[in-house]
């Protein structure tokens, strides 16, 4: 691993924006906060690849774009494949004309990563291309109207998993994407939250220091699909971390490490009650669903904790 200089203060990032305002993301969009922070920290020159997603649609209302870097959008399913091709092309150009120093970040939403783009992602990780893939996860297909995805948590209300008299929200647990990614034995994979900006920006730096694929799984709070006041976007993301719903950890060359230990977690209810897609889990008649979700959160944390200790 190359040496990575740690970003310690916000002031080091000021003036490094790679996006312009005027984009059409909803007021208070958590994804845009996270993506903006990632770009602030990113090494340059940078090329961005974008899967079909809220980010793609809101960032490039043709003929305008918020991006100040070369950016390409192809389809829902092939961001990782397109990034692979760009990396391979840069390699050839380097061979012919001398070193082309470029960094590549591919952004996909949860629909474009967990479900539709997972085959392309798996292929790119297995081939070992040098790029960072960021899945910004708002836990449903928000762009097309809040349909459930493989990333939607148990019990969450979406337009295709509504809360009814017989069936209460999504009936399956969230897919553990990080474990799928880690199984590819790539050098670096991490989870992140825009609420913990310092943790996030330093994970970006670390990811880009590796000569191979890296992955960041970013929580992206969504005011439209989760139903909370736009002003609370970062507060909700922070609650996800503080209740252990969204553990912040990294897997560096197979070694697990919790980067933000939460010794005194808040009750999961604190995270659920602030958003209407999940607040019905607090009703007495849904107690069994709440217990199942809590068990999922606790078991994942315990497992991560054990893995972190055994590598400490």
């Amino acid at each position: 691993m190359m040496s990575v200089s740690e970003i310690k203060s916000i002031k080091e990032l000021y003036g490094l924006d790679l996006i312009a305002p005027g984009h059409r993301a909803c007021a208070g969009c958590g994804a845009l906060v996270g993506v903006r922070q990632i770009l602030l920290a990113s090494k340059r020159p940078l090329i961005v690849v974008n899967a079909t997603s809220c980010l793609e649609v809101t960032s490039t209302p043709y003929p305008q774009t918020m991006w100040k870097v070369p950016w390409v959008h192809l389809l829902f399913e092939n961001a990782a494949a397109a990034a692979s091709g760009i990396e391979a092309a840069l390699k050839v150009l380097s061979r012919k004309y001398g070193r082309q120093e470029h960094y590549i970040i591919a952004f996909g939403g949860d629909g474009g990563t967990f479900d539709i783009g997972i085959q392309a992602l798996s292929g790119a990780l297995e081939r070992g291309h040098r790029f960072l893939y960021v899945c910004y996860d708002n836990e449903a297909y928000m762009n097309t109207g809040i349909q459930r995805s493989g990333a939607t948590p148990l019990g969450a209300a979406t337009t295709t998993s509504p809360v009814g008299a017989r069936i209460v929200g999504k009936q399956q647990q969230k897919k553990d994407l990080m474990e799928i990614v880690v199984a590819h034995k790539i050098p670096y994979a991490a989870t992140a939250s825009p609420s913990h900006w310092k943790d996030l920006v330093n994970k970006v730096r670390k990811a880009q220091s590796y000569d191979g694929p890296s992955f960041i799984h970013l929580i992206a709070t969504c005011t439209r699909g989760w139903y909370f006041d736009p002003s609370e976007s970062i507060k909700v993301a922070r609650l996800a971390v503080e209740t252990r719903y969204w553990p912040l950890y990294e897997v560096e060359n197979g070694r697990y490490r919790i980067t933000n230990p939460v010794p005194n977690p808040k009750p999961l209810e604190e995270f659920l009650k602030v958003q209407r897609r999940l607040s019905h889990l607090l009703l007495p008649e849904n107690a069994d669903l709440l217990e199942k979700l809590k068990a999922y959160v606790n078991e994942r944390w315990e497992r991560l904790n054990k893995l972190s200790t055994c590598f400490a």
Partner: protein
């Protein structure tokens, strides 16, 4: 060959980086953030959490808003540690 070439779409090309600046999202705003400069310490936390970005650092290190683009989400007001930002009716 010529016919095949004709049906290959070139895709959309945008040659002006950052051109969303043409569109003033400030018109979306219902409430606007107002900063009390006596309380602002210049920590820039509001800036790191603004989705647009619509916050600038002034020469004295404190902040100001870019009302052309601020959508009035209120994140900065919630996140400011000294409660220097109030949301006011337009």
């Amino acid at each position: 060959m010529a016919e095949v070439e004709k049906i290959i779409l070139p895709g959309g090309i945008i040659d002006r980086p950052g051109s969303t600046l043409d569109y003033k999202t400030g018109t979306w705003r219902v409430k606007k953030p107002v900063v009390d400069l006596n309380k602002c310490t210049g920590c820039l936390l509001c800036w790191i959490y603004c989705p647009e970005p619509a916050i600038r650092k002034r020469d004295d290190g404190k902040i100001e808003f870019d009302y052309d683009y601020c959508k009035g989400c209120g994140i900065c007001s919630v996140e400011c540690p000294t409660k220097a930002i109030k949301m006011e009716e337009e």
